[in-house]
Symmetry: C2
């Protein structure tokens, strides 16, 4: 594949990943819903669950990194560093999605052994928000895995040429 | 660094990672405790929590892969495949540890917003088992990240030489 095509594909992947992480952070960060259960009124808020807070922080940090990485010139010697950071970012995204997904699964189905009841019946909009945020985060992780392959190739080419 | 030293370091990392994943799978897989709460008797078992089952399955699969990867000769053309699989394994380990850790955190501290009470006071031995399994899994992920660096270098060397 030509160098210019590779550059364009790499750039498109990073722009899409930036969109996905930004969406994930915003959608999860705006997840809250007030519910009434008998005489009790309670508010479900993402910030009450450490795994969801971790998800928002990671996606926000990765969005900033994605924006900065867009401006690394293709002939730069920084591609080894970008490849290493892409690996770190992919691992961080995988970690925060897995943690949030594990909690979301308990929210949906509960855990009878621990006596944890499902909450999605009480706060369906909140659960829909979380599901959408997880889908966006998952898309970001896949896009970053592809961007990592591209940046690893760029680092390889740099090795071959100099 | 000499090629033979690289080989030995790579081999040591893989043997240690095999030990860590095997320990993680066995320790988590044997996590169960019977507890009595007032008139109720219940058993905490890892298999009642999907995130813990996922943790055991991933660590068992990675153990088998680690064993097979030990027998790939250093001059083999398979190192590109091993590097790709090492990346996949590192992602899977990161994912299963994060999911299990998220649930373990709720088990320890509960989640007041969702009305999920902590359970570690009732089943302390079960929680200790889970904590030890998580520590072994975390060690395995770090070792695999190092093994990935080594196998990526081996794949790079292969590119340079042929």
């Amino acid at each position: 594949m030509e160098d210019s095509s590779k550059r364009i594909i790499g750039l498109v992947l990073r722009v899409l990943a930036l969109g996905a992480t930004l969406t994930a952070a915003i959608v999860m960060g705006t997840s809250k819903e007030r519910a009434n259960l008998y005489a009790l009124s309670f508010e479900a808020n993402y910030s009450d669950t450490p795994a969801f807070k971790y998800f928002v922080i990671v996606n926000a940090v990765v969005s900033v990194y994605s924006l900065i990485a867009l401006f690394v010139p293709s002939e730069s010697s920084l591609w080894r560093l970008v490849a290493a950071l892409d690996l770190l970012v992919t691992l961080m995204l995988t970690s925060c999605i897995s943690a949030a997904l594990a909690i979301a699964q308990v929210g949906k189905n509960g855990n009878s052994m621990s006596g944890w009841l499902p909450v999605c019946n009480q706060v369906p909009d909140y659960c829909d928000h979380v599901t959408m945020a997880l889908a966006a985060g998952f898309a970001a992780a896949i896009l970053y895995l592809m961007a990592l392959t591209a940046s690893a190739h760029a680092a390889l080419d740099e090795d071959d040429c100099c």
